[in-house]
């Protein structure tokens, strides 16, 4: 008997896991240079030092490699957000919102190609399989919702605006609140969705180069300002 779990700790299994990690790592490099649409199993095989057909031992198809990269990206982003949150007191709601926003931005700027895969144009002809990507893909919004809900429960949030008007929207929001077990009111949930979209909108503008190259000398300052305003939008003064 070995000192590791049977099957998963055997040399062959460990070599396999290492190769899988190498494939994902190399895939990310190609994502950065060639983009998702041009991601090529043959190129990955070349960099792996292996004949092209050999990667089919590890990855069933090009689309499957894309899925691996999507999941890997969502998880890395989720980890970055979690790490940032671990350094902020749970009662500091505005601080937690700031931490999430900054972590997303920092990660996106460090990994623009993976960010583009997750939040940019859809890859033509590719549909991410929901079973594998939904979990990792909802980690950030889950953390954001946690912030609003915490703040609401703590009475630290004020939403004194008129309630959300269209009935169909209210019905959707009611379902969302039920599914997520939220006590925060409709208006707060709706504004939370806006803040979520707005944060990623700001990050996308910056990562994708929508601001002119010389418009802002210190984009971090712009983003921080926007985060403050967005915190106010959701009632966190």
């Amino acid at each position: 008997m070995s000192d590791t779990a049977p099957g998963s700790g055997t040399p062959r299994a460990r070599a396999r896991e290492q190769t899988m990690r190498d494939i994902v790592r190399i895939g990310r490099v190609h994502l950065a240079t060639d983009g998702a649409a041009a991601l090529s199993l043959r190129a990955v095989a070349r960099d792996l030092g292996v004949v092209s057909s050999a990667v089919y031992r590890y990855v069933g198809s090009r689309d499957e490699l894309l899925t691996l990269l999507v999941v890997d990206g969502y998880d890395e982003l989720g980890d970055a957000v979690d790490a940032a949150l671990s350094r902020v007191d749970r009662a500091d709601h505005a601080g937690r919102l700031r931490a999430i926003g900054r972590a997303v931005r920092t990660w996106a700027l460090a990994e623009p190609a993976t960010y583009a895969l997750l939040f940019g144009s859809p890859v033509p002809g590719y549909r991410a399989p929901a079973e594998q990507t939904t979990g990792p893909g909802t980690r950030v919004i889950a953390r954001l919702v946690e912030v609003w809900e915490d703040a609401w429960v703590a009475g630290a949030v004020t939403v004194d605006e008129a309630p959300v008007s269209p009935r169909r929207l209210s019905r959707d929001l009611a379902r969302i609140r039920r599914d997520l077990g939220l006590t925060a009111p409709d208006e707060l949930v709706a504004r939370g969705v806006l803040v979520w979209a707005a944060v990623f909108g700001c990050v996308s503008f910056e990562v994708f180069g929508q601001y002119g190259a010389d418009t802002f000398t210190q984009p971090q300052d712009v983003f921080d300002h926007h985060l403050e305003v967005l915190a106010g939008t959701v009632g966190l003064a």
Copy 2:
């Protein structure tokens, strides 16, 4: 002498213009089915009913075709926004903001592939030439800025927040105000940038499918709600 301008109205010149329009039209179809990265001059030639080398009489390279599509897209979006604005009184600032936002969203949902080309992931290996794309590419933000400035001049806007803090950001904002000839204060300009990014963030989330498929039964309602909140963000109650 002919009844049209010499050179540009001659049958051959008109045929050439028609072919150019056909190329752009066909290019947009391929953009929608295959994506920008896979956009192929050969495929366009095929649909044009012409041998592949023939398109080089009209378009110097694949990248040049991409540029044509970028300019065409920005112009179509700009026209859509202008058309929407023409139906709203210039003094109705909140209404004009709403009109811009809705026009952007409507156009983006109708032309998701072109929207993705303009506001999604950058196309690997392609840089849009600034001389040709900057003009059309700034039409929407120019109209948004017009709304804030109009509202400010009319005294219809209240920005009672603390002024923008970091000095470098203030310097950038001062330059922007000077370049655009604005009298609106820093805080309003900064919030305007946020609203701009947020509107496109909301549209991108919807067009790129970041909201789950069944989360909102009536996405238009969500967007309209967000627009109202954003109008408040910029002082337009």
